[in-house]
Symmetry: C2
Subunit: 195 residues, 2 copies
Amino acid sequence: MARTQGSHSAQTGPRIREAALRLFAKHGYAAVSMRQIARDVGVQAGALYNYTPDKQALLFDLLKGHMDELLAAWKAEPTPATPTLRLEAFVRFHIRFHLARPQAIFISYMELRNLDPDNFAIIEGLRKRYESTLTGILRDGLTEGSFAVPDPALATYALIAMLTGVNTWYRDKGRLSVDEVSDIYWDMTCRMVAR
Amino acid sequence: MARTQGSHSAQTGPRIREAALRLFAKHGYAAVSMRQIARDVGVQAGALYNYTPDKQALLFDLLKGHMDELLAAWKAEPTPATPTLRLEAFVRFHIRFHLARPQAIFISYMELRNLDPDNFAIIEGLRKRYESTLTGILRDGLTEGSFAVPDPALATYALIAMLTGVNTWYRDKGRLSVDEVSDIYWDMTCRMVAR
DNA sequence: GTCTATAGCGTGATAGAC
DNA sequence: GTCTATCACGCTATAGAC
């Protein structure tokens, strides 16, 4: 331990990802240099290229990893019996998951335009997949007669924007806990879509 | 006309702002160079500094001008008699105003972190001022008894996020007109806050 | 796997000619 | 008001020693 040179491979890889996530979230992808990331990790800039082919791959891996985690976590949630209960589960899941990863959420929304076109298409596909699960819930509730949204596609956009927006104002030491926020947002959601 | 050198001062100033707006919106502030802006305008990089002290001032002027315009436009709207009608006016105004200026909205949300602290505080103050007009409407409706939001502050965040989110998916040649979108969003808003 | 050194280029901003 | 030229520096990515 306390080595200042030599092999750290088991540590360095994850630490590069953590530093990149933190710095990209704080300053933006374009404003962060490979030298800054290296300094943050405690290695020289050249050493980063043992772990990533280039800066673009670093960004893509962060976003791809985040989207995979999001979809896996939602898939792992139990599926309640009624559309109303499924919608409540989605609202609470979305808020909880997003508030637990503010930096990953931030770059997932802010840095999309810095992805190469191929990478962008992949991330955009995964995001659409996630959003379509909400649209599915809304459609189920519509056909079943428990919801009355004017347009499921627009209601999906509206709800996702509303829920994700929590990340822009929520503070850990604030007036409300995650559960209290979730209660209020579920209340508003419910009123918005209920018959 | 068709001069390639000499004074164009009446034209160049606005054209620099337009180019900066377009390029910042497309690639991001940090990723755009003064040379790119100059090329877009058709002058050399040095000439830009006759119009702006530096790149930062260019960004700040765009955001400040946009916020001033937003507040002035809302102030110029008529004020309906009841909270419900005022809320409807706000919803329709917000969507219409934002959809008419997608690039300015985009950089207003994406480039805040690239503002110097002093500039950030000014823009943030103006934004809070705009949002507080919505909170005021919600409070009026609450005391009057026509609304039933659980928390006016959170309802403000939720509504602003929901309404601004339209900019992320709306396309001019899409399925719905601005008025149709506004109708649907007003319907959802109404259901969300109505008693 | 990390280091040092460097290639090749782009950056924001300024000086001075016209 | 715009141009050309330039300063001083930072950038990504690579090469080769260890």
